[in-house]
Point group: C2
Chain length 658, copies 2
């Protein structure tokens, strides 16, 4: 039933601009034909998405909808007030997928589940099975934890996706009724609305902007603007966790619960775009740059603390306790994409690329059946995993199952995060094999990226009457780029991350961009204490890691990488679905017999002399560790996104150099 479209889908994606938007760029779309992301999307389409309805059934989410509709009997199932969002996110993901496969099993499931959602809605538009069934209909009494507006937000996003993909009104009608209900209840003092309040988990704000974009109904935009500016005034108790410590316009860095912060900032950017609010734009730019410079893991992962799912302090970027929730990586892509449209700057797409290939993609197994909620950068030798949602081992589904359908919706809508247009032409932000289309221009790209750096573009459709600019993003990790236009080498500048080729294009014109993919070693700012004295291996957009499975005969915690020896590249079609590995020279310390205590005198320099000066008086032997034995070992690094797809074992992204 599944077909791969070789023509770009015609519906628009998750972010459409309103008629008054002040954006630098307009979203375009790509049809992904083959290659890396095609394969990941195929697994999503053929395994993850089809398994969704069964998992939602067995976890009780659909049962709860039937209970609310009065068409089933029994107890509410699930532990959280936001279990409905698992359904909504799956519906959104499936709706984007319907652009590729409009009919068949998936469409039937979407119809069926849409019907369950519609039936569960109350006559006045309210919809939340937890509050309808468990809380006896006590609405909006626990905004800090209740997630009622958060759930509404995901419903709205699903409805917009469904409408954009299918043109059908059923789910959009449900969402509008709920949005209208919310708009009748929430508003500032003096507005005549009974509640001046916000949700503990931002999400409805960006959804309401998109509902405005879809319907043209300005009320939804105004409601989103109201919500965004009510955070930070203590309505939720003033905690950073709920984004309530400080008004976002005054914030100097991202803080609190990572996903909440990022969804809020997506809305901030939406509002800056639609309302032309320069202060909100400056806020979004300031916070994005602060986050990227001080609170982002090498993988693009976000969130340093398990406790409170919090961002942590600047430069607090732990490895084994990195939280890096899969949903935070997704939210980061969603926010950065809005920044792309607003500003046109390449840095946002740089972070999107890094996040997609690493911190995001690690969230789903290669077979599409198992998930990671948290994405650590290290698993120690002998790690005893407690299991549960925050496990470092992949899990079939979670008690709090926010991440899996979130992954599905991003993969299904991925063609909409790759390219833009403006009045001057087409900008290609992310490289895939397929066709980029917008505003009467179509450019085909053939590539084996990220394994190879050759990107071969062919103009397939071009307006005959005017020159336009083909803009190709040169990633910041790339320090060596070569370009050929037709048969000629091109020697123009790369400016602010863009290679801009302006000319009168004709169908059949060819451009070849070569991004050199030398493997490289990366170090961190010295304030990132967690990785002092370490390097990471990267190649192109991919962050690499060592896994225990490739290093028998000892653990990974005793390994040192030799930075004086060159890195080698080896493509391994047999390994992890086909990956290019990076091979490095290293040494493994023979694990010394543990002493009584893991701390010893510093003896390299002056201190050593001082201690030994007094040795004639020393009554007990100094407690120095045994002499360390080392043996050479070949290190095989695999892409981080592919980790945890073999037997359980240790893993490291950052490798000590001595």
């Amino acid at each position: 039933m599944h077909r791969t479209s070789s023509t770009p889908p015609t519906c628009s994606g998750p972010v459409r601009l309103g008629p008054h938007a002040r954006a630098a760029l307009r979203p375009a779309v790509a049809g992904i034909d083959a290659g890396f992301w095609h394969d990941r999307r195929e697994v999503n389409a053929q395994t993850s998405l089809p398994q969704g309805p069964g998992l939602l059934e067995s976890a009780g989410n659909l049962h709860n909808l039937r209970l609310a509709a009065g068409t089933a009997e029994g107890e509410f199932r699930g532990s959280y007030p936001f279990v409905d969002t698992d359904v909504y996110k799956w519906l959104e993901a499936a709706s984007w997928q319907l652009a590729d496969e409009a009919e068949g099993d998936l469409a039937a499931h979407v119809d069926h589940i849409t019907g369950l959602v519609a039936a569960a809605q109350q006559p006045d538009g309210y919809l939340n099975t937890w509050f309808q069934l468990v809380k006896g209909g006590e609405r909006y009494k626990d905004l800090r934890w209740g997630h009622e507006l958060y759930c509404a937000g995901h419903l709205i996003q699903a409805a917009v996706a469904h409408h954009r993909s299918t043109g059908r009104p059923e789910l959009l009608d449900v969402a509008r009724r709920f949005a209208d209900h919310i708009d009748s209840v929430f508003g500032p003092p003096g507005s005549g609305r009974p509640i001046d309040g916000i949700d503990g988990h931002p999400e409805v704000e960006t959804a309401l902007v998109e509902l405005y974009r879809e319907t043209g109904e300005r009320r939804y935009l105004d409601l989103a603007a109201y919500f965004v500016d009510r955070y930070g005034h203590g309505l939720l108790g003033g905690e950073a966790y709920c984004q309530d410590r400080v008004p976002v316009r005054e914030a100097t860095n991202v803080e609190g619960h990572a996903v909440r912060q990022l969804y809020l900032l997506a809305a901030v950017t939406d509002l800056a775009t639609e309302a032309g609010d320069g202060e909100l734009r400056a806020t979004a730019e300031r916070l994005w740059h602060a986050m990227t410079a001080t609170k982002t893991h090498l993988t693009g992962g976000l969130g340093a603390h398990h406790d409170q799912e919090d961002f942590g302090d600047p430069y607090e970027l732990p490895n084994e306790r990195a939280y890096c929730e899969t949903c935070a990586a997704i939210a980061s892509v969603q926010w950065s994409w809005r920044m792309v449209l607003l500003t046109g700057e390449a840095c946002y797409s740089d972070l999107i690329e890094r996040t997609l290939y690493n911190g995001f993609l690690a969230g789903v197994s290669l077979d599409g059946e198992r998930w990671l909620y948290v994405n650590p950068l290290q698993v120690r030798d002998g790690h005893t995993d407690p299991g549960g949602d925050q496990s470092a081992r992949r899990t079939r589904w979670f008690r709090c199952a926010c991440c899996p359908p979130n992954v599905m919706r991003l993969l299904a809508s991925l063609p909409h995060y790759l390219a833009t247009t403006d009045d001057d032409g087409l900008q290609i932000h992310q490289y895939v094999t397929g066709r980029y289309s917008g505003d009467g221009v179509t450019v085909r790209c053939a590539t084996d990226y990220p394994w190879h750096g050759t990107l071969a573009f062919t103009v397939e459709e071009s307006p005959a009457d005017r020159p336009w600019t083909l803009s190709l993003r040169v990633p910041r990790w790339c320090q060596d780029v070569r370009v050929r236009c037709g048969e000629e080498a091109y020697d123009g500048p790369v400016t602010d991350g863009w290679l801009r080729l302006r000319r009168s294009w004709a169908a059949g014109d060819r451009v070849v961009l070569e991004l050199t993919l030398e493997p490289r070693l990366t170090v961190a700012d010295p304030r990132v204490d967690a990785v002092r004295g370490c390097v990471a291996i990267e190649r192109g957009p991919l962050v690499y890691c060592l896994e225990q499975a490739d290093h028998p005969g000892g653990g990974l915690d005793d390994i040192v990488v030799d930075t004086t020896r060159p890195l080698a590249v080896k493509h391994r079609p047999d390994l992890l679905g086909g990956v290019t590995t990076v091979v490095a020279a290293g040494r493994r310390r023979a694990a010394p017999r543990p002493g009584w205590w893991p701390y010893t005198p510093y003896t390299q320099h002056t201190q050593h002399t001082q201690h030994t000066q007094h040795s004639q008086h020393t009554r007990q032997a100094p407690h120095t560790p045994e002499q360390t034995q080392e043996e050479p070992v070949e290190l095989t690094a695999v892409p981080y996104y592919a980790w945890a797809n073999r037997e359980d074992g240790s893993m490291r992204v950052w490798l000590p150099t001595s």
Copy 2:
């Protein structure tokens, strides 16, 4: 009303050996007259302990007891089922203090609160205000979280302390009735008792052993043995958090919730001692050494995770997210002291010393009025503290107020953790100014330890008829020790941490021990990733840290210590109640303008060459950080225990060397 006793108290302390115990050493006692610990205990006696009743009143703990007794009306106050233990731990602390001040306000408060506890007890002996008032008397239905036996344990410990200090039966009678009730309810299948179960939080086990020691009632020892061996069989769901993943006899390292593990292991050691169980002894030794070698912070702090208050993996010893709950440090001292008695080995007292002077003492402010629940080894520049119990800022009291009265009870009972006797003489484990007494021997010590390393001992009382051995522990941090006996230098060996002086002592005999207190730099095992490339400053038993308050003009996260320059010592009577500081040479990087991204190419070695080889093709400047500017800065390190007693700011124990 408070007096400082210059004669050792005659009651015994928290650990008394039973008549059949197989212990290497017997507990002795010290009267602390002056000096470091005298001052800390004075603050405890004059500020912390007297404030207890008022805080227990305002937090609702005493109100709950009155509610349970039917002598007050209102709602239960507090969020946890174990709030009664705040009362019990204060009662225990106050009872130990009564050894120094038998009459007065404190004694009156003890009498009053003992009366409240007794009145709240139910006729069959059960006592837990949460379950009596909130849970409608539903007993023992939620052993995993209910803490009913945990509360009983703290009641028993308080009662034993009260009985040992005052000889009075009131509280001991309450505790025995509760213990008898528990003994009538809990037992193995086939025992005729209705419940085969254990408490989610171990604690009652070590308390029951002590109740056996106090009363001679063997049933209590048997009940403790039953409980200890029922952990690890899935009765609580099999989680490490509750010590239920693996039977303790099979465990290879400490795991799960740190305080739970440590209280359980105190009981394991008690049972090994009282029952002569060699397997339990081997278990305790194995786990203590594994913990000390792989899961102990430099401060003696224990517990790597905020989440679940968990130990974490071996060598996972973070700095800013070190949990190191104050209660875990206390539990570590309690366990290690039992290991001291069981084995006679000095290593356990080495860890006790380190923990007392650092990870434990940091838990209370210098003025005795504010507390730390968690004890991190780093607070970053610009740290935004969320407040709450797990804050890195000192707090007046906690919602979960386990730590403050726990600190009070250890300080009040400290004289009982310092010395032991055996048939051969007296062993001094910890050095204080005062008199050590046991088995007809009294030795006075005068010292300004830990600021100075001179320990002057005078024999004050000695049996005339036999030689005996004065054993002085030589701490493992000390690599240079000198001894004079009378006027003569002594040149005997230090064996396994002990300097043993055997002779026929007479009153007036003098021994002077000189522990050289050179400040020193310490490094960690390379597997401790968190502190790679760093050193810590120590002097004697004290771990040092840098505080923002002593380093104006910039943050601490840009500081580097120069390990080639000598450390200097400067006593500062004006500072933090009088401390010896360690002054080191350092440099401060002028904070570079942040780049867009905190990761950059590794350029020192081969990689640099590889990149620049291709520079003719490079279209954009490599994103190298700006050249780093450094300025010299004098670093003033203060003892870790004294941190967070001035204005809020950053703090570091581990200092980068480059």
